[in-house]
Symmetry: C2
Amino acid sequence: MIDPTTLTLSGLRIRATYDFHGDPAEARRRADALRVEQTIEFPADLVPDDDIQREVVGRVESLDEIGPDVVRAVVSYAVETTGWELPQLLNVLWGNSSIQPGVRLVDVALPEALLDHLPGPRFGVSGLRRLLDATDRPLLATALKPMGLSPERLAAQAYELAVGGLDLVKDDHSLANQEFAAYRERVLACSEAVRRASEDTGRRVLYLPSLNAPFDELERRLDVAVSAGVGGLLVLPGLTGLDHLRHLARSVDLPLMGHPALLGSFTASPTSGIAHGVVYGTLMRVAGADLSIFPSYGGRFSFSRDECREIATALTAPLPATAPAFPTPGGGMTLDRVPEILDFYGPDVALLIGGDLHRGESLRATAAAFRSAIGA
Amino acid sequence: MIDPTTLTLSGLRIRATYDFHGDPAEARRRADALRVEQTIEFPADLVPDDDIQREVVGRVESLDEIGPDVVRAVVSYAVETTGWELPQLLNVLWGNSSIQPGVRLVDVALPEALLDHLPGPRFGVSGLRRLLDATDRPLLATALKPMGLSPERLAAQAYELAVGGLDLVKDDHSLANQEFAAYRERVLACSEAVRRASEDTGRRVLYLPSLNAPFDELERRLDVAVSAGVGGLLVLPGLTGLDHLRHLARSVDLPLMGHPALLGSFTASPTSGIAHGVVYGTLMRVAGADLSIFPSYGGRFSFSRDECREIATALTAPLPATAPAFPTPGGGMTLDRVPEILDFYGPDVALLIGGDLHRGESLRATAAAFRSAIGA
């Protein structure tokens, strides 16, 4: 037994909801193990009845059988366990329990004092609408591709897509710093092409390069983008860390678009990992994404309508101290599906169509058709 | 159809092995979709028979039904698709396909030219053995815990554990920068305590603080650790990014211990995500971990003996330009299991026991018993 500890804590608690899949008779024991694993990771019987045992160890607030062999547990954590830092928040919510099979983190509620420490979207829905002079219509987004094209050819694509009617022209997430289209040359060429398109049409169009870079290159590549006058940034938290997104939202005055690369392994299994709404919704939003890309139902991926709804809700529902962000459904969307997608998501959405815009007589024409499809 | 592209590529290929779970009749189509998704993410029928189609798009090298409803596909990628950078390597291997259910990345073989760009372990097994004057015995590791203790109490623990016989005394992975034990005070106190223990015993003992910090604090916290004369660093790639580990291995002359926090979601489902050997073995090793922590079979977690063997093999098997790293099984190991664990892993192992050392008359005594248990 260790000696008793006295602490001064705020009493503010984070509430995390976990679904335990398996024998309901085991759920109490598993939830008890989880609340210890996520905090002190120490034999609970060796801690006296002190402030560590009572306040630092997570608390099982409720336990409900919500379906056949599924028990839902709400566990609360003292906000101080996070040190008010995002990486440690993730660690408290899911660090070691990520390793356990049969348990899924399905919801997270953060106290306002902690949300105050997190940036949330700098622009958000209303800020992006102002920036793009798009009062209430859906935003139109696309990607420059395929990998293998030269900076000049990608820039030519960017110009056509921007002139045709897109609002947001981003690098494909596969573009990093390959010799086919080195980052600096690509960013300069595409940024210039989109600026020219804006001048030619009188419409604001944003180019967002992909900030997929090694840790020690991130600041330099950011400087290249900012110097080139880009309109925003594509950020891949699965590759560069969710806290890098937070850092950008805090320090850079540009809209940020979050991409799900590598994050799919958190959501792919229905009985482990983290729920779609938490990964592509809550976490992207509190970290500062103004737009969060996810593969919509009915495309190349397998998300259900319910999962997409959950993401869109997590991005847009009222949250203290945090602006709403644009759901950005993509992943194989096509022009002919625009009405149906709008019907599902409503107008506060950024539609992301990539490859399908290349089917047609010209990129400019399909981009214009995309714009017509939303009735703008 | 886009215009044809001519590229100059090395011909060097990365080989990634994927298991497709489900109807074998669908496997060819799914593998074909994956090789496109992971590279050009563009309708393949819109790319002419050019160098993008032939070289940049991944190639299905083989397809074998290896079990009931499991087809194993080897897909190769031109090394240039990675731009020789680790985040983009992850993106090519698993970026968007992480989102698909029913497919698992089970093996990765990198060409030597790419391994030359990755640091691998700076010390590795032989370097750590030299540093610790431990010619051929297992290494002994433990964690300072529980969260909630003051820096002074953690430092007192560190002293006792070091004097008792540990080689590596690390922060518990739950220690970040909480007000209970702020990072700077904790690192100074624990580093000093372990140095004193080394002087008092004449044995080299390494203290490894947890470098779990926000993106824009990582360099400052590293400086605090280096100035305090720490013996190594605990790195959490699931929180700070795998490329942060690579950056440290490249730039800091200290042993690095990788921790699996948050990475469990990549391995928890047997039919999606990434195999244990790739996550806790290959990726940790090529990025530069000298020791890789994972929860051993028979503890609080659920890894099987086969999964643990796969990890240990990936950390130690011959690999061009890359030193072997120490498998560091933990996750609820106990003193009485030491002989069995050694029998399983062999001598090139770092045994990590945390909480169980607190069961006994004194920490110093249980630490000494741990050392006796390995016959040192």
